[in-house]
Amino acid sequence: MYNFSALTQSIHQYLSEAMSPLGAKITEMAIIGLVLIAFVALSVMGLVYIERKVAAFFQLRVGPNRVGKWGLLQTLADFLKLLMKEHIMARNADKFLFNLAPFLIVTAAFLAIGAVPFGLGLQAFDINIGVFYISAVSSIGVLGILIGGWAGNNKYSLIGALRSGAQVISYEISAILSLLTIVVLAGDLQLSAIIESQRDGWWVFKGHIPVLISFVIFLIAGTAETNRGPFDMAEAESELTAGFHTEYSGIKFAMFFLAEYVNLFIIAAVGATVFLGGWMPLHIGHWQAFNHIMDYIPSIVWFFLKTGGIIGIIMWFKWTFPRLRIDQLLVLEWKYLLPINLVNLLVVAFITLMGWHF
């Protein structure tokens, strides 16, 4: 299996020979930043195209099909259109906070994506508290929604922001608790250690039914945390025009749009890493020959297959279920998911203590 750290090490060696240690460090940071920005821009364009196609197939339409082959260039055209649009500022808006909100959301998304392990040795920031770090930095994102909804001085966006605040704060608990079940099983918070603990099988198979339950809860909570349907109360276009970003136009709207899809990707990537082994190929216990064959598929392919699968499930949710009401949403979280999750965590702790998992 190809280890990407060989590539990164050779780049590091080349840069260290060419310039001073400080210069090499700064250049490396710049390279990582550029790579991540390019990756995010491309993957968001791809995700928007896929989502529009998925929605179209669910509704028995064709979807984008005019710009380029199968409409592949449609999102690029939309992006260029958004870049050239006028920036509109409402008269009594708070200009500073209005301009700050999109940056807060995008910053939180980029802080989180830095810690995502894309493949064997391909992780920008392997921090020793990986899972906790990602949930901590992504909790800042909700502030962008709250401020953006308030600063536009629009009643629709204020209602959207309030709904979204209640929703994200509530579902964060479920997301973190469901991730904690795997942290208990793996005995570590570091993402690379969690992946390593799945060398003889993914946790979703090794951990019996409790892990399956927490995986389902994670998918529900992740969908709610990214404000996607059927939990898209924050924008609910049929009642709130566009929710918290009603007043935004042009590139600032595009940043909210970008952050939504980056967050979708991050949730899927974290779910794939923690529950489905990240870049770890499908290994079954001690079947040496089978494991060896699976190792021939590159790690980065495994990661994107799993992440893509989870993204597909979340998109499937969105275009299948009708939107909930905000009170139904909060009842679902506080009266059903949270108690189930707490009992589940207790069961997993007991299983780990007795060593009953595989």
Partner: protein, 168 residues
């Protein structure tokens, strides 16, 4: 490199702290407070104490500031400005601040910092968890339980206030 990052963070903390108390728009004050707290988390990251940094981000940036912003969203209109502070109040606050700064500077200047050549000791999340629930020497189980009871009381209180009575 570390020194440059430290000065940037320190500058941000000082600047935004001052802005937090001088801003007359309450939501802007909350956002400046957010920047102060995030820069403090940055200091913890710089010290390589990642766990405390993540706690700072979750509890303060993601919890306390979100709650403040939430309360402001529910209660304050966008064109509302806090009234300017009166002269007497300003003078009294300045004297108090000067006294506080004086105390801190006196304490820090009087402390004999001894630089050490030893490498920083690592920490372990498992060790933190164990000492949090340990009842031996330097164990934190009593404060932990007391705080849990306090939080429970606060929650019960909040529910009682928010509860609707039938004869109202």
């Amino acid at each position: 490199m570390e020194r440059i990052v430290f000065y940037i963070l320190a500058l941000a903390i000082v600047l935004f702290s001052v802005l937090t108390v001088t801003s007359r728009n309450i939501l802007r004050a909350a956002i400046y407070l957010l920047f102060v707290l995030m820069a403090t988390a940055g200091l913890y990251f710089l010290l390589n104490y990642n766990f405390l940094a993540a706690v700072q981000l979750t509890v303060y940036s993601g919890g306390v500031v979100v709650l403040i912003v939430f309360a402001v969203l529910l209660t304050v209109k966008i064109d509302h400005k806090l009234p300017p502070v009166g002269n007497l109040k300003a003078i009294v606050s300045m004297v108090l601040v000067a006294m506080g700064v004086g105390t801190v500077v006196w304490a820090v200047a009087g402390f004999n910092f001894t630089p050490t050549a030893q490498p920083a000791t690592g920490y372990d999340v498992k060790a933190i968890g164990t000492s949090l629930l340990s009842y031996g020497n330097y164990g934190y189980v009593l404060p932990f339980e007391v705080i849990s009871v306090l939080l429970l009381a606060a929650m019960v209180g909040a529910i009682m206030i928010a509860k609707r009575y039938k004869n109202d």
